[in-house]
């Protein structure tokens, strides 16, 4: 088993081809519906597009991982089953799943195709991971972004499957697959509809003083002064007030993006098989830059050379970056 597999995002067929050409080993993507956790307008693949994408990737020795990582609400299970059946017909290399009913269906109907456990399943202990391996034959777990490297090493020693970790991109804070914040404000669910801060309910309002308010549904999730850069329009990235912080504060996290480029060798040494880059909603420009930079870094590490870390640090485009929980427990 080689380590350092680069798993890259694709929100459109063009982004998938860009990622493959930039050196991605695997690309993850989803259909244009609620079966995946990035069900955003104008994004994702029709069955025909996915079929073509799989052919494009396979011709260049890259793999396509189909995200079926939302939770079907009772009464709508058929949509997820159809997506799984389509995945087989289109010959995807693996499914990324979270719901146990979906996992069971695929394990029973396509026992030879790989199952990856999505971060949306929030399996953060060897016990939880071993449960999914034992019951559904999961081959890989995508770990939540909450563990330190020594903790990852300990988990690896106890589980009979591969580990994939996020190394770059948006920094998730809530336990994935357990967040109903968007649904509370908007009526659309991250778990059931694959939607987080749906764009049609995000509103930016500028007042006369030049302040920019971000609203999600009826709630103001942040307000920015004229010189401040705006934040990501999600509830967990907003600023709020209470008695302890009357002036307003980032109750959950500062605006910050995850960049583990410096930790790549340590992660490989800890037994991480695959590195995941976040951002199916980001542009081709982002995919191209980030994938190419990490491709070079991973190849350098494999060849025993020191990776060029400065290039990777520049990728966050002036935004603050963090190594989050991977570096220290103090993050918690």
């Amino acid at each position: 088993m080689t380590t350092g597999e680069l798993v890259c995002p694709a929100g459109t067929p063009a982004a998938l081809r860009t990622a493959v050409d930039a050196g991605a080993d695997s690309i993850y993507c989803g259909f244009q519906n609620a079966t995946n956790a990035r069900n955003f307008p104008g994004l994702n693949f029709t069955p025909k597009e996915l079929g073509e994408a799989v052919q494009y990737a396979h011709a260049r020795s890259a793999k396509v991982l189909l995200a079926l990582n939302s939770y079907p609400p009772a009464g709508k299970v058929a949509l997820w089953r159809e997506a799984a059946d389509l995945g087989a017909a289109l010959d995807v290399d693996a499914y990324i799943v979270a719901d146990m009913g979906v996992a069971r269906y695929i394990a029973e109907t396509q026992p030879d195709r790989r199952l990856h456990l999505s971060v949306q399943a929030a399996a953060a202990s060897p016990d939880a991971i071993c449960y999914y391996v034992r019951e559904f034959g999961v081959k890989r777990v995508v770990l939540p972004r909450i563990l330190t490297i020594p903790e990852i090493r300990e988990i690896k020693a106890e589980i009979p499957c591969e580990i994939e970790t996020f190394i770059f991109g948006n920094h998730g804070l809530m336990v994935e697959g357990r967040c109903s914040l968007t649904n509370y404000a908007t009526g659309l669910s991250t778990n059931m509809d694959g939607v987080c801060s749906p764009a049609h309910l995000v509103e930016y309002a500028k007042d006369d003083a030049g302040n920019l308010s971000t609203r999600l549904g009826p709630f103001t999730i942040d307000r920015f002064g004229p010189q401040e850069s705006a934040g990501y329009p999600t509830i967990c990235k907003g600023r709020y007030c209470n008695a302890a912080q009357p002036k307003g504060y980032y109750a959950f996290e500062e605006p910050i993006s995850l960049n583990l480029s410096k930790l790549l060798p340590d992660l490989m040494d800890a037994g991480v098989t695959a590195f995941k880059i976040e951002g199916r909603q980001r542009s081709r420009a982002y995919v191209k830059k980030v994938v190419a930079a990490f491709r070079e870094a991973v190849d350098d590490i494999r060849a025993g050379r020191a990776p060029k870390l400065a290039d990777l640090a520049a990728l966050t485009e002036g935004q603050k970056q963090t190594e989050g929980a991977f570096k220290t427990k103090k993050w918690r």
């Binding site: 202990s125 009826p218 109750a251």
Partner: protein, 307 residues
């Protein structure tokens, strides 16, 4: 069939004596059938009450209540893994699993309950859980009534219980990070149990001063109290077997009595709804999730009858 009333686990960090007094009053006065005991949110809080669980369980059982031990929602550290394993290994108390780590340690077919953190959103996952020994499942608070109806039908067919939260703040998110500690410039490991200062959660208001969320350690809750009293006739007709009241810093005995009067048919939904409104609680009520709308909303009772 008349649904049972349950009292969910105390989510907040109340001190041990306050919890003991609370459960003593529940035992004596609250018309609930089942009481869930145990720390669900934070393993750091467990030592403060764990040694009293057996005594409380005995007290409640004597009062005719069924007692269920609730497990942790988040399992990552050694002590949390051990707590999950120990729960599966004991046979004194019926228990509710809230993390897949707990499922791993169950013997083949060992009876257990499945809690709202386990994400049972559909009839397939429900059926899977039942093949592994689940006897009772509580659905996530955001699951709409249209899906609960499908689940209730499956649960009836499979002969297991199906529970829905009908009162109290909705859990909206959990995290590895403690937001209570963060608000006070501390980390989770050095929190000094600041969450104890907010027995009904720490407020998070928008920058325009509107009440929005509540923080309880690693958990984020709705500011509003879920109130599905008007929807209970529909739930009973669907086959929902258990109605869960989540403990808040309000007169929970009074709340339980209102729900009890309704399920027993002594009052109608409108009257029960008016009685809850008359309690004049500090937070507004919401029922949006049940109606497939934004969770914070309160949809008029008349619309509820259409579900």
């Amino acid at each position: 069939m008349q649904p049972r009333l349950t009292l969910g686990p105390i989510q907040y960090f109340w001190n041990a004596d306050a919890k003991q007094d609370f459960y003593a009053r529940i035992a004596d006065e609250a018309p609930v059938d089942t009481v869930y005991l145990g720390e669900v949110i934070c393993s750091k809080r467990q030592p403060f009450f764990d040694d009293r669980i057996a005594e409380m369980a005995e007290r409640l059982t004597r009062a005719g209540k069924r007692v269920v031990h609730s497990g942790l929602a988040e399992v990552m550290l050694k002590r949390e893994r051990k707590a999950s394993r120990d729960m599966a290994m004991q046979d004194e108390l019926e228990f509710e699993v809230n993390n897949a780590a707990g499922l791993f340690h169950l013997a083949e077919g060992q009876p257990h309950r499945v809690g709202p953190y386990m994400n049972v959103y559909n009839e397939e996952t429900l059926a899977w859980m039942v093949t592994k020994g689940a006897t009772h499942v509580t659905v996530p608070p955001e699951l709409p009534g249209s899906s609960v109806a499908v689940m209730a039908e499956a649960a009836t067919r499979l002969g297991v219980g199906l529970e829905v939260q009908v009162f109290g703040r909705a859990c909206l998110a959990t995290s590895a990070r403690c937001y209570h500690a963060r608000a006070y410039g501390r980390t989770k490991d050095n929190c000094q149990f600041v969450c104890e200062e907010h027995p009904d959660g720490m407020e998070l208001n928008t920058r325009q001063g509107e009440a929005f969320l509540r923080v309880n350690g690693i958990q984020t809750l709705s500011h509003s109290y879920v109130n599905l009293v008007a929807e209970i006739p529909a739930m009973a007709a669907m086959g929902v077997t258990d109605l869960r009241l989540m403990p808040q810093s309000v007169d929970m005995v009074a709340v339980a009595r209102i729900f009890d009067d309704l399920r027993a048919g002594r009052v109608g939904a409108e009257e029960a709804s008016a009685a809850l409104d008359a309690m004049d609680l500090a937070a507004p009520f919401s029922n949006g999730f049940w109606h497939g709308e934004a969770g914070h909303r309160r949809i008029a009772v008349k619309a509820a009858a259409l579900v």
